[in-house]
């Protein structure tokens, strides 16, 4: 369709085949220009005029007693007329345009960069406390004053800068680096954290009290912090070093044949809220109807479309999936596989601090489950610092 015809509006009229000649003659004589015309198989003629011309055509047809009837009306004026007949739609459109225009006066989003140890949620809460949060009125925001206020409010921050880019505030922070206070080293011994056979004692400070091949028990002193000197008497120091020893550890993993597993009932509860800039309004909550345990899945329906960032109008909420614990039973093979997996995880967790030399695994099964007893021989540093009180 021609865009001009759409803007001015159009009317399609139908003319029976018997009156087609007179209709054409009327159009020719009066100069009514149709935009398109087509002839159907049953002989009825359909001609489309602009809305203005169509009025004249219908008037002239009535004067000539021609059976011309309008059958289709369209175009912008018709749409506008229909639109204006729906007050809710008009009000919604006016409201949407108003919100669109007004939204440029409010802060849409806050971008925070530079946080390392300070939780971003805490920082955002502090920013909100000084007035920098989505929904803040932009003409009243003083970026420099906000930066100073946040820096003063949080001693963990050494530098804060707030830059306003349109309706987005970019907050750059630099965290304070705390220098640990210098402390006078306190005297300490090195003691064994577990039983073992010393393989290589490496004592950097203090008096070495064990030799390679010695058997030590947990708590035995490996290096003393009190040194008896020939010329100066007793001297205290903070013993330091590593004592590599061969140790033996036992892990026990038991996996029962019966266990409880989650069975989702199919019942779900919802909590939904509408968030508009900084304002949040709850409008649905059905989780109260759930009686059992449930898993919660949070969601946010942020929409960005082709925009570089999300629009600050979105739905947020959570879905709760109700479940009940039902007894289940695993086979012996499954129990053994589970036990092996748990044992592997335990050994992997401790592998960072020791070197595994030997491993033996015993499997014991009874009517209730499977038990793995794993004994390992490893080499590790057994020395730990134990401070001593000096009067």
């Amino acid at each position: 369709m021609h865009p001009v015809l759409f803007l001015t509006g159009f009317v399609t009229v139908s003319v029976p085949s018997a009156a087609a000649g007179a209709f054409f003659e009327m159009c020719r004589a009066c100069g009514y220009a149709f935009r398109s015309v087509k002839n159907t198989e049953n002989g009825t003629l359909y001609a489309t005029f602009s809305a203005l011309t169509a009025r004249r055509v219908l008037r002239s047809s009535a004067l000539r007693n021609l059976p011309v009837t309008p059958c289709v009306q369209g175009g912008a004026p018709t749409l506008l007329r229909r639109f204006l007949h729906r007050p809710g739609l008009v009000a919604g459109t006016v409201l949407a345009v108003g919100i669109l225009l007004l939204s440029s006066l409010f802060l849409w989003d806050v971008d925070v960069t530079g946080v390392e140890t300070v939780p971003e949620a805490e920082l955002r809460a502090e920013l909100a406390a000084v007035g920098l949060s989505p929904g803040a009125f932009l003409p009243r925001l003083d970026a420099d004053a906000l930066a100073v206020a946040v820096r003063r409010a949080d001693p963990r921050l050494s530098y804060v800068a707030v830059n306003l880019h349109g309706t987005v505030a970019a907050v750059q922070v630099r965290e304070s680096v705390e220098t640990p206070p210098r402390e006078t080293p306190r005297p300490a011994n090195l003691v064994a954290k577990c039983d073992g056979v010393v393989v290589l004692p490496l004592i950097f400070e203090g008096e070495r009290l064990v030799e390679a091949g010695d058997t030590v028990r947990a708590g035995d002193i490996l290096a003393g912090g009190v040194i008896d000197t020939d010329n100066n008497g007793l001297r205290v120091t903070r013993a330091a070093g590593e004592v590599l020893a061969r140790t033996v550890h036992t892990y026990t993993v038991r996996v029962p044949f019966t266990y409880e597993q989650k069975a989702y009932t199919g019942r779900r509860g919802y909590e939904m809220a509408f968030r508009f800039f900084g304002w949040e309004g709850n409008f649905l909550k059905t989780t109260g109807k759930l009686t059992g345990e449930y898993d919660i899945i949070d969601f946010e329906s942020k929409w960005s479309g082709a925009l570089p960032r999300a629009v600050p109008v979105f739905l947020t909420g959570k879905t709760a999936w109700e479940y009940t614990a039902v007894p289940a039973r695993r086979t012996a093979k499954e129990a053994l596989e589970t036990a092996n997996a748990e044992l592997t995880a335990l050994l992997a967790a401790d592998s960072a601090t020791r070197t595994l030399l030997e491993k033996t695994v015993e499997v014991a099964a009874d009517e209730a489950g499977v038990t793995l007893i794993c004994t390992i021989t490893a080499e590790e540093n057994i020395a730990v610092v134990s401070e001593i009180a000096v009067p």
Binding site: G21, F24, E25, C27, R28, G31, Y32, G43
Partner: protein, 95 residues
């Protein structure tokens, strides 16, 4: 016996004046067999997708026969129609 042309016609022929400028003249422009423009149309006498009868100048009628004939535009004494044009027949009013 051949009818003698009227004075205006004879004058135009003598002076090489185009006939289109004389009142009551008509003309046809056929674009292939799909489109026809008739200048000097005075009235649409009848319409049917298979045959259209026009009154043109000089007491002449023009019968256009074909298939799916349809008027496309009107303007300043001319009509344009399209369709599968088979024949054009000129008739005198008296016939």
């Amino acid at each position: 016996m051949r009818k003698k042309p009227d004075f205006i016609t004879r004058l135009g022929e003598k002076l090489d004046i185009p006939r289109a400028i004389f009142s009551g003249s008509f003309g046809c422009v056929v674009e292939g067999t799909r489109e026809l423009t008739v200048r000097g149309c005075r009235k649409i006498l009848s319409y049917d997708p298979a045959a259209i009868l026009l009154a043109v100048g000089g007491g002449t009628r023009l019968l256009i026969e074909g298939e799916a004939l349809l008027f496309r535009a009107f303007g300043a004494g001319s009509v344009t129609l399209s369709g599968e044009i088979r024949s054009l027949t000129f008739q005198k009013e008296a016939e």
